[in-house]
């Protein structure tokens, strides 16, 4: 201990104090700029926050890779999924003519859209990869209306920070930050590989978020809620995923 001079102790103390203050300031700045994920609490909060914040800064204007038509995976893959509910089967029997997408929350004009209405809007088609957190992946063409177009149509509030989306299976809901929601490649997809979106792939309507892993692309979407506060939904962690132990942000 004799090697540790008093000067050294004082400098280390000052450095530590500066470090803690710096961290505090960094946290405040990060919070203001939307760099803190809703599931930042707990022992993994450090890694989650570093990943989300760095990705938000790095991918501000980036586009998911798009592929050529010849790279589309054949045969198309349909992942395992929970058994379909009676309410879904009834809509399916009617050819989804009565499927509605309701949009509420921080919007000027809450609305409910039929599939035909959604299909009448300008569509976007893209050939992107769907990568699952488990390790497998496939490439498909996704056709749909950009989520940003729907948000404009309903007049989403400028102070809105998240778009929460719900599956007809109430166990599944998720949310995107407003940048990801407005991203040109984020689609409400109703078509796949030049055809209708098959039920096995989330038809009639699926969220498609190609810059994040497959589990953010929730199937059977029938409700959107625009909000500035995720605390009001579920356990306040941003989606059903953290409640099941998975990260809210799935860019990695």
């Amino acid at each position: 201990m004799s090697h540790l001079s008093r000067r050294k102790l004082i400098t280390s103390g000052l450095a530590a104090a500066a470090g803690v203050t710096g961290l505090g300031a960094a946290a405040t700045i990060a919070q203001k700029n939307g760099l803190i994920p809703p599931d930042h609490g707990g022992i993994y909060g450090l890694g989650e926050t570093l990943t989300y914040a760095s990705h938000r800064l790095l991918t501000k204007h980036s586009l998911a890779r798009e592929f050529s038509r010849s790279q589309i995976s054949q045969p198309p893959l349909a992942n395992e999924m929970a058994p379909l509910k009676e309410s879904f089967k009834r809509l399916q029997a009617g050819g989804f003519a009565d499927w509605r997408l309701s949009v509420d929350g921080m919007v000027a004009r809450p609305a409910s859209f039929s599939l035909a209405e959604l299909k009448s809007y300008p569509s976007r088609s893209q050939i992107t990869q769907l990568a699952c957190e488990e390790g497998w992946s496939y490439i498909a063409e996704w056709i749909g209306v950009p989520l940003s177009h729907v948000l404009e149509t309903v007049g989403a509030h400028s102070k809105a920070r998240y778009v929460v989306y719900f599956s007809i299976d109430s166990n599944w809901w998720d949310s995107l930050d407003i940048d990801e929601a407005h991203h040109p490649q984020t689609l409400l997809a109703y078509g796949m590989n030049r055809g209708e979106l098959p039920v096995g792939n989330g038809g009639p309507l699926r969220m498609r978020v190609p810059r994040q892993l497959g589990y953010k692309s929730v199937k059977f979407i029938n409700q959107l809620t625009v909000t500035d506060n995720l605390k009001e939904f579920g356990k306040g962690l941003g989606s059903a995923s953290p409640e099941a132990g998975y990260a809210w942000y799935a860019g990695i």
């Binding site: 450090l46 890694g47 991918t59 980036s62 998911a64 893959l77 990568a131 490439i139 099941a244 132990g245």
Partner: protein, 253 residues
């Protein structure tokens, strides 16, 4: 803390039996943080692997695709055909959280280690082989001594021998960067900003497969590293990496 090493190693008058500084505080701290992170990454990585123990080459791969190879273990997903009649419990949630947390800590620790190694001369002094070592004769001699388990001269307790230098440099400059890079190449968000990170490997599944093989190489390094420590004297070497001190008297007994 760094001056402990400086004070002791310069004091040539101290008796031979006296303990001397072997590893600097920074080397010791970063070593053990990296060890903990590597074990966390290994365990969580194996858990994630169990959810799809199949490997592919190219951009895509799934159960409809012929795998490059399969790991003959049961899976935590019912969809994966493994030949086993049961499905293991899903551990991917916490495994993925832990994997990325440990990855961040080990990357930041690695950056600190590299920068300080450059500044203090640790890299040049202890890791880059000496000029005289750049010869096939010296290299083959070093290998022969290792294979015969010849006890190294006492001087070797104060720096790394040639094979250690080569192995450590390979891990620090090749394997660690490659495992981080292939990990990032699997991130759809990261490659949206840096597409060449994945196209350089020929696709996301190729990156995943390389990630696996680099992990195997790192695991082999760990096993050989621990094996060598056991041969050299487990407690004295481990104590040196914890306290920073090693006694030459201890080495000879």
């Amino acid at each position: 803390m760094g001056d402990i090493a400086w004070v002791s190693s310069s004091a040539s008058a101290i008796p031979a039996a006296t303990v001397r500084a072997r590893h600097s505080a920074l080397v010791r701290i970063t070593h053990w943080i990296a060890t903990l992170c590597f074990l966390a990454l290994l365990v969580s990585g194996v858990e994630i692997l169990i959810s799809h123990p199949r490997f592919y080459w190219g951009e895509t791969g799934n159960i409809n695709t012929a795998p490059l190879f399969k790991i003959p273990i049961p899976s935590s997903r019912a969809l994966v055909p493994t030949g086993y009649g049961y499905v293991l419990p899903d551990q991917n949630g916490w495994s993925r959280y832990l994997h990325f947390q440990a990855a961040w800590i080990v990357v930041l620790t690695g950056i600190l280690y590299i920068l300080s190694s450059l500044l203090t001369g640790h890299l040049q002094k202890n890791l880059i082989p000496r000029k005289a070592d750049f010869s096939w004769r010296v290299f083959s001699h070093a290998i022969a001594e290792h294979v015969r388990f010849t006890r190294p001269p006492a001087a070797e307790a104060w720096s790394y021998n040639l094979l250690q230098r080569i192995a450590y440099l390979f891990v620090i400059l090749i394997l660690f960067p490659l495992v981080i890079w292939t990990g990032l190449a699997m991130s759809p968000a990261f490659v949206s900003a840096v597409p060449t990170a994945v196209t350089a490997f020929g696709g996301q599944q190729s990156a995943r497969t390389i990630h696996f093989f680099v992990t195997v190489a790192l695991l082999l390094f760990l096993l050989i590293h621990v094996g060598m420590i056991v041969l050299a004297g487990f407690w004295s070497r481990t104590r040196a990496m914890i306290t920073g001190r090693a006694g030459t008297q201890m080495e000879r007994t």
